[in-house]
């Protein structure tokens, strides 16, 4: 058991290492001089020279990577050219809105998608099942930003129920904080609900054909307990897996949703950094998001131990 934990945690190291190499190479292997690319078209020669010096571009590639990676290990993501501060500080400043938005989205998605998926599997072929499968295809197809503007137009402009855009820090009061988060979270959760509900339905459907479900029903167990205590409990692993994999979708969605709703989080930071061609920040944000993604999937893997007692490594 302990050896499994250690092995599984160690297994993420090579993946993260490769991510670091890829993010490093992203800039260096681009055709053209990286310093000129970063400085932009209108840069003075001194500026380009300074950036070249900063990146250590005159040294061999391997040495460059060594220096960059050493800094990374020390928690130093470099200095932002545009925001004129440490990238790590910048990420720290922008993380709260993104965390709040992601957390609300995951909570909404799980609370909506799992019950829907279970009921759809239970009443297989029924109207809810068909509606859910239809919704699921739609959810994958309606772009986050179109949905976002539709909700703003309907809820904020026509019905005037919620604020149009912006973000309120949680420190400035919980009421306004939540009111600003409702629409972005609903917008972002739709694709996630589509994904989780689809997998929940398939997983529960599989379990429902097992012998022990028939046994549970035969011994007179209430249907709710059959569905929740037996079917859902045994379908937990694929559901958790898809929640973990879906984080990639969520991160992509955060970038768009924060732009639509004017939320000053990491997603907005990514876009601002790209528009300003601020490569240390771009690299830092990509590394950060990838690290979070790998970490969450590690936690999902470890959670199998809790949710499925049959799994004993």
């Amino acid at each position: 058991m302990l050896s499994f934990l250690v092995k599984r945690i160690l297994a993420t190291v090579p993946v993260l290492l490769i991510v670091a190499v890829l993010v490093f190479l992203l800039l260096r292997l681009t055709p053209g001089d990286p310093a000129t690319i970063i400085a932009g078209d209108a840069a003075s020669p001194e500026n380009v020279a300074k950036i070249r010096e900063n990146l250590g571009l005159s040294k061999p590639l391997l040495v460059q990577f060594g220096i960059w990676f050493g800094n990374l290990m020390a928690g130093d993501l470099g200095e932002s050219y545009f925001f004129k501060m440490k990238v790590s500080t910048l990420i720290g400043q922008r993380i709260e809105p993104t965390l709040a938005l992601s957390f609300c989205t995951i909570v909404i998605a799980v609370l909506v998608a799992v019950p829907l998926g279970v009921i759809a599997a239970w009443k297989q072929g029924g109207w809810l099942d068909r509606a859910l499968m239809g919704f699921s295809v739609m959810g994958f197809s309606v772009p986050v930003f179109v949905l976002g503007y539709l909700l703003i137009w309907l809820v904020s402009l026509k019905l005037a129920l919620l604020p149009v855009q912006g973000y309120q820090r949680i420190a400035d009061g919980f009421g306004p904080f939540i009111r600003h988060l409702i629409l972005p979270s609903i917008t972002l959760s739709v694709i996630y609900i589509a994904l989780i509900a689809r997998v929940t339905r398939a997983a529960v459907q599989d379990v429902l054909s097992e012998d022990y479900i028939r046994t549970a029903r035969a011994k007179g167990l209430p249907e709710v307990r059959v569905l929740v205590g037996h079917a859902l409990a045994n379908a937990a692993v694929p559901i958790l897996t898809v929640i973990g994999i879906g984080i990639a979708l969520l991160i992509g969605g955060v970038v768009v949703t924060e732009s639509v709703y004017g939320i000053p989080g990491l997603g907005r930071l990514t876009v601002d950094a790209v528009l300003a061609r601020d490569f240390p920040t771009i690299q830092g944000v990509i590394l950060f998001f990838s690290f979070v993604y790998v970490l969450i999937n590690l936690l999902v893997d470890l959670s199998y131990l809790v949710f499925d007692p049959r799994i004993r490594y």
């Binding site: 991510v19 295809v137 197809s141 772009p143 179109v146 503007y149 149009v164 992509g252 790209v274 998001f289």
Partner: protein
């Protein structure tokens, strides 16, 4: 005569033959599937719209007229042609803040979206097939190649695309390549897993023992058996590429802003979204319907061509 011999008994069995189940060909099964019909018809319609854009009541999508700014859908105004003369024009979907015709821009945008979607799908499948065949068939390459793919998959795809477009000068080609790259690992994994199971088939063993060159086995014996799942996968990539291109353009990091793409139209419309929501909604509806059509087509193709995968999802 050999040919006559089987014909004689067949005549006697003619009454029975009516009851014999004849398995329909792939084309017949495809043509009978509702999702293939709906998705295919919608795609056909969109392709026609893209091709016939010049004759569908449009003007050059780059034309503008300061006198026709911010018109509501259906309004009539003037537009200045490239030759400098003013012509009367009905703005079916209104105009934007430069006085450009949204209807023309949206219809011409169909071209861009379809080109990007199809090109991305082809490119990702092509590169994924080469990588997957190599990983599945060349043992020494398997480990390093798949670890790199794991690394790419650990970075949320949209971030890779955003970073690559930011590094390269934004053009149709760079956007296509940037969107296709993060899709490659999934294709590679699919092809590799197919290859690993196909290479154990007796006919491959037979080919090997006959001294068939490795390349011929890979492309002549193994590749044809991966076609069906690849068509399905390619369709989904097409849908997601159309969506990603729109997101990139919408965020301002995609195709050049003078190109009429759905994402660009929405990006320009978002500033005035509160007064003129049509600038965002018309391209949004086209985008959502297109992606939905491709996804439905993909589901249909999957049901018919790849029943094993259909069961899993």
């Amino acid at each position: 005569m050999h040919a006559d011999a089987p014909a004689a008994p067949a005549a006697d069995l003619s009454t029975e033959a009516a009851n014999v189940y004849v398995r329909p060909t792939v084309w017949q099964r495809l043509a009978r599937h509702w999702a293939v019909r709906i998705g295919g018809a919608a795609m056909l319609l969109l392709t026609l719209v893209a091709l016939a854009a010049p004759v569908l009541g449009t003007v050059d999508p780059t034309l503008f007229d300061p006198g026709s700014r911010d018109l509501l859908p259906g309004a009539t105004g003037e537009i200045t042609t490239l030759e400098g003369e003013s012509v009367k024009h009905t703005f079916l979907m209104g105009s934007d803040s430069f006085g450009r015709d949204i209807h023309s821009r949206v219809l011409y945008g169909t071209r861009v979206s379809l080109i990007v979607g199809i090109a991305c799908a082809l490119l990702a499948v092509l590169l994924g097939v080469v990588a997957g065949l190599s990983a599945g068939y060349l043992r020494w390459l398997d480990m390093p190649l798949m670890r790199v793919m794991d690394g790419v998959m650990a970075i949320p795809g949209i971030l890779i695309a955003i970073a690559l477009v930011a590094l390269w000068k934004a053009s149709l080609l760079t956007v296509i390549v940037a969107i296709a790259i993060p899709e490659i690992p999934r294709v590679t994994r699919l092809v590799r897993s197919l290859v690993l199971s196909i290479r154990e088939e007796p006919y491959v063993e037979a080919a090997v023992s006959l001294g068939t060159p490795t390349l011929k086995i890979m492309f002549g014996h193994i590749l044809p058996n991966t076609v069906a799942p690849l068509i399905v996968q390619g369709t989904y990539i097409c849908a997601s590429a159309i969506l990603t291109e729109a997101i990139l353009s919408f965020l301002g990091v995609g195709l050049p802003t003078d190109m009429p793409t759905w994402g660009n139209i929405m990006a320009e419309g978002r500033v005035q979204f509160q007064q003129f929501p049509h600038n965002v909604f018309f391209p949004g509806i086209f985008l959502a319907v297109t992606v939905l059509a491709v996804n439905i087509l993909g589901d249909g193709l999957r049901d018919v061509l790849d029943p094993k995968m259909a069961k899993r999802a």
